[in-house]
């Protein structure tokens, strides 16, 4: 076996009565079933215990921020869809919002409500994938299929709304592209009913009370609040450590200024708390969707704006709460047809940085459990 020895701290490699044991370097990924894409982890192992971990990223780098600089503002949402490909609607909100902030335009109220509705649906879709694949990471095969079954309903809704299941290209600076087709709201309400009455309790029964699931997640991958703040974690990962950080509450944008959100936090800071926060956010998202369906105002869905948009010179930093944390766009306009710079603050990228510290001293099985609980999307990490 090709093993290489490295210098490691003596407290992690046990001294087995003078018996010298070599560490093994294991290259996990980029082609590995559960690194959630093309993440590569260079693990130094002592038996099954991880001594150190070096994440290697960049396998999905597509130069997205450079692409923005060569595309008109109206074409931006189509590209940012591919950044965090599990919550494209929320990415589009960020891009459109940043452009609007430079332009000094406020989208119509109806457009803001539609954005909130699709954002919350997308959040549910993304959390369903997170929880389903987390079950898969822990070796349970059923949750992922149940979650994808429910997510399918959301994708169908998006397809009839925007014409695309996955990369929707639905938001535009100044509003949204289409209004709801006939019967869409009823379908959405039916889906919400079914999801809340049948699917969520089913998932809770399958996963939450499972002793093995609890044993695999409780106390594993503990992040204390100071650590979370130091690593600038956001989203469910931070909220599971008791940090009350949620862009929808702290810096409300769009319709969140009118519809308050109950922030979901847990104090435990372990993998189970992160799972629990995601579940609770799905309940909360169902509630928000219902509020929007009740209060949906009439009126136009978009401001009138030219297709060849030329915002004035200026810059804006616009944050939205994506399913993974604070997703922000820092956009600079030089007055031309194309953005001068559009920088994405990707929550997956920031949250991933804590991984080496969390993995040290854990078993191989926990590597996957912890990585899955952080819930990264490699498209978002590499952009």
């Amino acid at each position: 076996m090709a093993t290489e020895s490295t210098t490691t701290s003596p407290d992690l490699v046990g001294d087995f009565g003078g018996l010298r044991s070599e560490e093994m370097i294991l290259n996990m990924g980029p082609q590995h079933p559960s690194t959630h894409g093309v993440l590569r982890l260079v693990l130094v192992l002592d038996g099954e215990t991880v001594i150190s971990c070096t994440p290697v990223i960049g396998y999905l780098h597509r130069g997205m921020e450079k692409i923005f600089e060569n595309r008109p503002y109206m074409a931006g949402p189509r590209y940012i869809d591919n950044a965090d490909y599990l919550s494209p609607m929320i990415n589009e909100c960020a891009y459109a919002g940043a452009t609007e902030a430079i332009m000094g335009v406020e989208p119509p109220r109806r457009a803001q409500y539609i954005r909130l509705l699709v954002s919350e649906l997308e959040r549910m879709a993304s959390h369903l994938v997170a929880i389903g694949t987390y079950g898969l990471d822990l070796g349970a095969f059923t949750p992922v299929l149940w979650c994808f079954r429910d997510r399918e309903g959301i994708l169908d809704l998006f397809e009839s709304l925007s014409g695309h299941r996955f990369t929707h290209n639905y938001m535009r600076p100044g509003g949204v592209l289409y209004d709801f087709p006939k019967g869409w709201l009823q379908t959405c309400e039916a889906w919400l009913d079914n999801f809340e009455r049948r699917s969520l309790p089913e998932l809770e029964e399958l996963i939450t009370g499972n002793e093995i699931f609890e044993a695999r997640t409780e106390g594993v991958g503990y992040i204390d609040p100071q650590q979370a703040l130091a690593y600038a974690l956001t989203g469910p990962v931070a909220r599971a450590s008791g940090i009350q950080i949620d862009m929808r509450v702290n810096r409300p944008y769009g319709a969140y200024r009118e519809i308050p959100v109950n922030i979901q936090t847990r104090q435990e800071g372990d993998c189970f708390a992160r799972y629990r926060v995601r579940m609770n956010e799905m309940y909360e998202a169902v509630r928000l969707c219902r509020v929007v369906l009740d209060k949906l105002p009439g009126g136009p869905i978009s401001v009138r704006s030219p297709i060849a948009l030329r915002p004035p010179r200026g810059e804006a930093y616009y944050s939205v709460e994506s399913a993974r944390g604070e997703e922000s766009i820092y956009m600079i306009s030089d007055g031309s047809e194309y953005p001068y710079r559009a920088k994405i603050r990707a929550p997956s990228f920031v949250n991933l940085q804590i991984l080496p510290e969390l993995l040290r001293g854990n078993k191989i099985g926990d590597v996957i459990a912890i990585l899955g609980s952080i819930d990264i999307v490699l498209g978002d990490v590499d952009r």
Binding site: E48, G104, W146, A215, G242, R313, A316, Y318
Partner: protein, 435 residues
């Protein structure tokens, strides 16, 4: 008929039956595995080839047989090639002792139980060879894991069967009554035929041993899951952690042998559980006297054996179904939790069971009363284990350490930070700064 010829025919028939049954069962099981799981997961599973996709399994086997023989260049050639055979051969051999029916038992060995246990522990060598010979780090970790796992679970598996053997010592002929003949029944039988016979004595034909040893069945079945590397003990081939574990470098025919061996192992574990705990081939209609009287020697025996094998396979299918059911329900344990569960929970539990059963069977009482007391105590133990485990011992069934064994406490949590006060973004437009 010439008795020698009769014996030859018997061996040939039963061995062919075992081999065919193994092949068909393994292929069908792989199909059912996918189909049963599919229905539990709201999907259809294999659908296209044959009615309800039933030909899928056989086509899969055919595809595997025709695949190119791929072997990485740096593998340990001999070990790599030998490993599937070492894994598969004991599975075929173990089928020989399984009592499908009185006739369909190729080798009614007097030491059937020990024979089975011995063969099932040879498997681990095959898995370890596969892990070592592949020259792949995932495979190596998988092989090491499986070696640790299978050796650990071998112990409670054997110990769980001891209770039954002790019961047979009381129940077989000559051992009943107030004055048992100690020359013939000091030790119980470890022959499958004898154990099945002890469960269908004329005076108590329905006294299957799971009624007397439910705890034994539970522990045996859990260890069976671990022995066959099935969920939740499928660590050696944990796909989310180790890609495919010791199977990572295998493909084609060699992979198929591991695959068939694994499903064959499941069938064997279920068959042994059936023979030992569910009364083997006993069931409605499986009465040789009745059929012999009705149809005569040959035809009566044939009909009786078919019915007996039918009941055996039905009971076996029940256990096999639980294999699939468990797999669709639970996640996987971690390596250290797995070992802890075996050594700190299952082995002490089986030892207590042996001690209690043995002591109670020695009480100076009538045999039925002794057995009844032992059964009641066993049931109480089972209920206690299942329901109050966490409260009494602090050992979760999943192997969390009790407080006094825990060395590493979780760091105490600081008080929750005060929430960032929600500062409202300025309503309306133009949040950006003009340059």
């Amino acid at each position: 008929m010439d008795p020698v010829l009769f014996n030859v025919i018997h061996v040939v028939v039963t061995f062919l039956f075992a081999l065919l049954f193994l092949m068909t069962a393994a292929a069908l099981l792989s199909y059912l595995d996918r189909k049963v799981q599919a229905y539990m997961q709201d999907r259809y599973g294999p659908y296209h080839y044959g009615p309800q996709g039933i030909l899928q399994a056989f086509l899969d086997v055919g595809k595997l047989l025709l695949k190119e023989d791929v072997k990485a260049s740096a593998t340990d050639n001999l070990v790599f090639r030998l490993a599937p055979v070492v894994f598969f051969a004991p599975v075929v051999t173990a089928f020989v002792v399984l009592p499908f029916s009185p006739y369909l038992t190729a080798g009614a060995l007097g030491t059937g139980l020990i024979f089975y246990v011995a063969l099932s522990s040879i498997d681990v060598i095959g898995v370890f060879m596969a892990g070592w010979g592949s020259n792949n780090k995932y495979a190596l970790i998988g092989g090491l894991r499986s070696a640790a796992q299978m050796i650990s679970y071998e112990l409670p598996l054997v110990l769980a069967l001891v209770g039954v053997v002790m019961l047979t010592s009381v129940l077989t002929a000559g051992c009943t009554g107030n004055t048992p003949d100690l020359t013939t029944c000091g030790v119980g039988s470890i022959s499958f035929s004898q154990i099945v016979a002890a469960q269908m004595r004329p005076e108590s034909p329905w006294l299957w041993f799971f009624l007397l040893q439910p705890l034994g069945l539970l522990v045996y079945y859990i260890c069976g899951l671990a022995e066959t590397n099935r969920s939740p003990f499928d660590l050696p081939e944990a796909e989310s952690e180790l890609v495919a574990g010791y199977l990572t470098e295998y493909s084609g025919l060699r992979w198929a042998m591991f695959f068939l061996g694994e499903y064959g192992n499941m069938a064997i574990v279920s068959a042994v559980a059936t023979a030992i705990f569910l009364g083997g081939w006993s069931g409605p209609g499986a009465a040789i006297g009745f059929w012999n009287g009705l149809l005569g020697g040959f035809w009566g025996g044939l009909v009786f054996n078919i019915i007996a094998a039918f009941w055996f396979i039905v009971k076996m299918s029940f256990f096999l179904f639980i294999f699939l059911w468990v797999r669709a329900t639970v996640p996987r344990l971690r390596a250290d939790q797995l070992m802890r569960f075996a050594w700190l929970f299952l082995i002490p539990l089986t030892l207590v069971n042996i001690l209690l059963t043995g002591a109670l069977l020695l009480l100076p009482l009538d045999t039925p009363i002794r057995i009844a007391i032992a059964a009641v105590v066993n049931w109480l133990l089972l209920i206690g284990v299942v329901f109050s485990l966490r409260g009494i011992t602090g050992v979760k069934a999943t192997g969390r350490l009790p407080r006094w064994l825990r060395t590493q406490r979780r760091t105490p949590q600081p008080a929750p930070l005060p929430g960032v006060s929600p500062e409202r973004a300025p309503a309306g437009a133009g949040a950006g700064n003009r340059r």
